[in-house]
């Protein structure tokens, strides 16, 4: 049990170092409640998708289409709100639309991967192209502004000073942790990712489980789309561009093996926070996004190198 704990400790140390760098270079502008909430609000959207992605990657898959699915959900939900929704229907329908669209995209991914035996990389790459294309068609490439007050009021609410978005992220993380570590679903995910043939011969319905994993990450994309729509008050086919990169990076530096069979929700949450905080520190120091991208790339490589060293040590003893 010291293994995962030690790894998470390393991530916490990394996070603290980044915070220290933030305090030294930006002082009070970094170390304020407002700024902390900014970081957390930003982390929430990516974080929710990353929890779903942790399951997919642990189950031996990958989903490159999360950003595109998020865009499609945002556009579909806002179109529904502005055009279809009658005055007297409740805004909660918008929520259902986004979650349903996300889950449906995941279902398509899952079915093609599990039953069509197309590798996840290609399937979700195709979904990436198709979903974003569909989002452009529906929105006619225009940014759609949300005018439904009930929706905006609900999602921008605070509870005891904590924004609802952050609370959603926290709830999803805890639920994800429980699902991952304490349920048959989580255990089967580890089995399917670790040795699909053994899982199949043990009587697990591997195909059905794989489908469920992609539906789960699709659902997370729908939820994240709602969070992003409320934060920006817009739905757009450009939402979530390159989200897949941030999400996969956060999951991997968190310690989840890309080969499947081993994963960690706590690590993923820490990975998300590290990237969000790092981006914030760069922004406060007036570094542009290009510099951030270079730094992110370096961090990903170093993290994976470290992970491989750890994995080798673990198997050779």
């Amino acid at each position: 049990m010291s293994g995962p704990f030690g790894r998470n400790l390393g991530l916490v140390v990394a996070l603290l170092l980044i915070c220290a760098a933030g305090i030294i270079t930006a002082g009070d502008r970094f170390a304020s409640i407002d700024n902390t909430l900014t970081i957390l609000r930003y982390a929430s959207t990516i974080g929710v998708v990353s929890i779903g992605m942790t399951f997919v990657i642990t189950g031996g898959g990958i989903d490159l289409s999360v950003g595109a699915i998020l865009a499609l959900c945002s556009v579909w939900a806002t179109t529904f709100a502005t055009q279809t929704m009658a005055q007297d229907t409740h805004w909660i329908l918008m929520v259902f639309v986004a979650l349903a669209v996300g889950s449906a995209c995941g279902l398509v991914n899952g079915i093609v991967i599990a039953y069509g035996k197309v590798v996840p990389f290609i399937t979700t790459l195709a979904m990436l192209a198709a979903a974003r294309g569909l989002a452009e068609i529906i929105s006619e490439r225009r940014t759609q502004i949300v005018t439904v007050d009930g929706f905006k009021d609900f999602f921008s609410a605070d509870i005891l000073g904590v924004p609802l978005l952050v609370i959603i992220f926290a709830v999803v993380s805890v639920a994800g942790w429980v699902l991952f570590n304490r349920t048959t679903f989580g255990r089967r995910t580890l089995a399917v990712g670790g040795n699909p043939e053994a899982a199949r011969l043990a009587g697990i319905n591997v195909n059905r489980h794989t489908v469920m994993l992609y539906v789960l990450v699709g659902f997370c994309c729908g939820l994240a789309a709602l969070m992003l729509v409320s934060r920006t008050t817009t739905g757009s086919s450009t939402h979530g561009t390159l989200l897949e990169l941030d999400v996969i990076a956060a999951v991997v530096i968190g310690g989840t093996l890309l080969t499947g069979g081993r994963g960690t929700i706590v690590g993923t949450v820490l990975g998300v926070l590290i990237f969000a905080t790092l981006g914030n520190v760069f922004t406060l120091n007036n570094q542009d996004t290009s510099t951030q991208a270079v730094a992110k790339g370096l961090i990903i490589v170093v993290a994976v190198l470290l992970q491989q060293r750890l994995a080798r040590n673990a198997t050779s003893t």
């Binding site: 304490r182 349920t183 255990r187 670790g194 040795n195 053994a198 011969l201």
Partner: protein
């Protein structure tokens, strides 16, 4: 013969954190001999091989190559001396051709351009030297049989001027004819002065091919340089186990032939191109064995009635209810369990704890609304593991760290936990040492006595006959004989198995 041994190892000690893997190994290999390494699983054979091939560095001890101290510091250094190892799991690239595999890493090239013609010519030479010129150098390795793949591995070793060849259980994937062929190849090599270190669990093979034997037990050499022809089997087993046992099969129950409806009933099962018209019925408490050559369709029959393959015709009934074709979950739900042939790749989650491997098919029982109660999971697993005497005790250990016999017990524990009605065992003792074999036989018999219907597939005729109540002999996808196990002997089974093969 030169008196200086090719390889001498003295007092080799290798420690891993918390484990003494090798505690003083002595080994002496002469040029041109087949030196057999014998020992139970966990005796240190694999570790010793890795020391010779320099994957591991010994903590103490002395290694001499032709009488001179040799520093085996890297695998490359070991290869440069002429040491090649062919591991149990062949390390070939399936999508590359035979020739490309053989010269992988030391490609023949001029200024970076590969010499295709020369490579293929040299490949033909090597294959001919091994007596297998029928293997096409340009075919991709993934399309070859396991036996041919092994020949390719050996050709790769020879392509690098090998002087010491280590073979780790080479016969495990071969049938009798292929083993004979392998032995011919080995004899050719030793005649050329190559030394061979041969590892096998099968004593009869060692008698056939070996010159001298070194026995390891618990990481130490207990006997070295024994003459193969002058050491009785009982002596060898005593050295390996520290006690004197032969293959011990538990007595069959003397209950009268089971009556009533069979638990497992298979009618007219067919998988095109593999087997056809297979009928099989097994009663509660009965052990039925399937004997036959590798490739005769035995494993495929098991996998098909387990739902892992979809038959084109026929039905499988468990306790009178027909199973949905080609569905493993349906079979498991009906109470069928399989201990697959390839334990590591098909049966186990190697990087997961023992208890998780045991409960993977019974998770529903330990959960309420999907939430697992891992305390009761551990507790029940520990009880089952203890009843099977899985060693070392403790269910939080990773399965990867267990010996072959104990890994097999973990697979059995999984189905014991499920209280299954039908248990299918495919090569239950492959890679399991002699001592643990007897335990597994006893275990299987006691499962049957508790009312489980058992089907056993094994390449070892002795095992099928010794363990089963009734035997089916399979040849080329057809059942050619069925009858009580005590009314047929090994030579008759071999007759049936071979019959018609030559003509």
């Amino acid at each position: 013969m030169n008196d200086t041994p090719l390889l001498t190892m003295r007092g080799i000690v290798k420690r891993f954190p918390g484990v003494l893997a090798l505690g003083g190994v002595e080994l002496e290999v002469r040029a041109g001999e087949v030196h057999c390494l014998l020992g139970q699983n966990g005796a240190g054979k694999s570790t010793l091989i890795k020391v010779i091939s320099a994957s591991y560095q010994p903590d103490e001890g002395e290694i001499l190559w032709e009488g001179k101290p040799a520093a085996l510091s890297t695998p490359q250094a070991s290869m440069d001396l002429g040491i090649s190892t062919i591991y149990q799991e062949l390390d070939l690239v399936p999508d590359l051709s035979v020739a490309e595999n053989i010269f992988l890493g030391h490609e023949l090239s001029t200024a970076g351009f590969s010499q295709r013609g020369e490579t293929i010519r040299r490949t033909r030479e090597l294959l001919a030297r091994l007596g297998h010129s029928e293997i096409p150098p340009t075919r991709s390795v993934g399309r070859l049989s396991p036996a041919a793949q092994q020949i390719v591995s050996m050709a790769r070793a020879l392509s690098q001027d090998t002087r010491l060849l280590i073979l780790d259980e080479p016969s495990a994937v071969l049938d009798q004819g292929e083993v004979d062929n392998l032995f011919r190849v080995i004899r050719n090599l030793t005649a050329e002065g190559v030394a061979v270190v041969y590892i096998s669990h099968r004593l009869e093979e060692i008698r056939q091919i070996g010159d001298r034997i070194t026995v390891l037990k618990d990481g130490s050499t207990v006997a070295t340089g024994l003459d193969v022809n002058q050491t009785p089997t009982s002596e060898l087993i005593k050295l390996m186990t520290g006690r004197a046992i032969e293959y011990v099969f538990p007595p069959r129950g003397d209950a009268p032939a089971p009556t009533g409806d069979p638990v497992l009933e298979v009618i007219g099962l067919e998988l095109p191109g593999v087997f056809t018209g297979v009928d099989l019925s097994v009663h509660a408490g009965e052990i039925v064995g399937l004997a036959g050559l590798v490739g005769a369709g035995r494993s495929e029959i098991l996998e098909t009635l387990y739902g892992a393959r979809r038959p084109s015709a026929g039905s499988v009934r468990v306790a009178g209810r027909e199973l949905r074709r080609g569905s493993v979950p349906a079979a498991v739900k009906a109470g069928v369990g399989l201990a697959p042939e390839e334990r590591k790749s098909q049966g186990l989650l190697l990087d997961q704890a023992i208890y998780r491997n045991i409960t993977v098919s019974t998770l529903g029982r330990f959960s309420r609304l999907g939430m697992l109660d891992s305390r009761s999971e551990r507790k029940r697993s520990a009880e089952v593991a203890e009843s099977l005497d899985v060693r070392p005790a403790g269910v939080d250990r990773l399965v990867r760290l267990l010996s072959g016999g104990n890994q097999q017990k973990v697979v059995l524990a999984r189905w014991l936990m499920r209280e299954c009605r039908v248990l299918l065992l495919d090569e239950p003792t492959r890679g399991v040492d002699v001592g643990a074999r007897a335990e597994i036989y006893t275990l299987v018999r006691s499962l049957a006595d508790s009312g489980v219907a058992v089907v056993v597939v094994s390449s070892e005729v002795e095992e099928v006959l010794g363990l089963s109540d009734r035997v089916l002999v399979v040849r080329e996808g057809r059942v050619v004989h069925e009858g009580p196990a005590d009314e047929i002997d090994e030579s008759r089974v071999l007759d049936l198995v071979m019959e018609g093969k030559v003509a």
